[in-house]
């Protein structure tokens, strides 16, 4: 029995090394998706690259705290959003909601009005938005709203995952999403029609 000790230890170490390698490979396979979200959470490509590198650095060091079988992408994004917060992003007051005419339909109505009746075809209304205008509008959102909209609309996370990543209640995810999307549409309307 005394001779089994080192052998068991050796096997345990080998198993752990295999688990870690598997973890690292699974995490790296998600890098592109993680970057896409990061890119829209921060202002520049360089910041996004730094943030993703810091995230993977921390993830590789603390891989043991990940529970296999749970959502690894959400786990990585939680590290990333916390790091982003730690970086002391600028304190930005949430602006008071402007009264938005016709609620959610404001952008469509406004664009349709400026294009004439026949452009009420919504697909075409949206196609008139440039990539720049969407990127600018997203980056102009207050951080709390931007984080939520980016996680759900670009990261395609569920409300529950977004709530876990941001450490806020699901109801808060829903209201930030709602207000964030409204603000986004109002910004798009300003930029596109102004």
């Amino acid at each position: 029995m005394g001779e089994d000790g080192p052998d068991i230890d050796g096997r345990r170490i080998a198993a752990e090394a295999r688990d870690r390698v598997r973890f690292e490979e699974e995490a790296l396979a998600l890098a592109d998706q993680v970057y896409r979200v990061a890119r829209r959470l921060v202002g520049t490509r360089e910041e996004a690259e730094d943030l993703v590198q810091d995230t993977y650095g921390r993830a590789f060091r603390s891989w043991r705290s990940y529970t296999p079988g749970t959502n690894l992408r959400a786990w990585l994004l939680r590290i990333l959003t916390n790091l982003n917060l730690d970086r002391g992003r600028k304190i930005q007051r949430t602006p008071d909601m402007q009264p938005i005419e016709e609620g959610d339909y404001y952008l469509a109505n406004k664009m349709a009005a400026s294009q004439g009746e026949q452009v009420l075809d919504q697909d075409h209304v949206v196609e008139k938005l440039s990539q720049d205008s969407i990127v600018t509008a997203l980056s102009s959102l207050p951080h709390d709203f931007r984080d939520t909209v980016v996680l759900v609309d670009i990261g395609e996370f569920s409300y529950a995952d977004a709530a876990q990543i941001l450490d806020i209640p699901i109801g808060t995810v829903m209201s930030r999403l709602h207000r964030g999307r409204r603000l986004l549409k109002a910004k798009l309307a300003e930029e596109t029609i102004a």
């Binding site: 090394a17 870690r20 390698v21 690292e24 790296l28 890098a31 592109d32 970057y35 896409r36 890119r39 829209r40 490509r45 690259e49 993703v52 590198q53 993977y56 650095g57 590789f60 009264p99 005419e101 016709e102 609620g103 959610d104 339909y105 952008l107 469509a108 919504q122 697909d123 209304v125 949206v126 196609e127 938005l129 990539q131 969407i134 990127v135 997203l138 759900v152 609309d153 670009i154 395609e156 569920s158 409300y159 829903m174 999403l177 709602h178 999307r181 986004l184 549409k185």
Partner: protein, 77 residues
């Protein structure tokens, strides 16, 4: 100061858009969309806008980043 009685449907439609409703809420949302032209147009607009934001705002990882991330792996592999 609501302009439209369907402003109250926004929450339901948001959940429908995000596939976050349970079966009975889905049925409720769909039956409302069948009957309400205002909400149907608004919903179609939301779907299109969201897809458009998803595709236009998505930027691929820069070349070279994957290599940098791989270098962060534990050395003793």
């Amino acid at each position: 100061m609501s302009h439209n009685p369907c402003d109250a449907c926004e929450e339901l439609l948001q959940g429908y858009l995000d596939r976050e409703l349970n079966d009975s809420e889905v049925a409720q949302a769909e039956s409302h969309l069948d009957d309400c032209d205002y909400c149907r147009r608004r919903y179609r607009f939301e779907v299109t806008l969201r897809q458009y934001v998803q595709t236009t705002a998505a930027e691929r990882m820069p070349a070279g980043l994957m290599e940098k991330l791989s270098q962060l792996r534990s050395p003793d592999r």
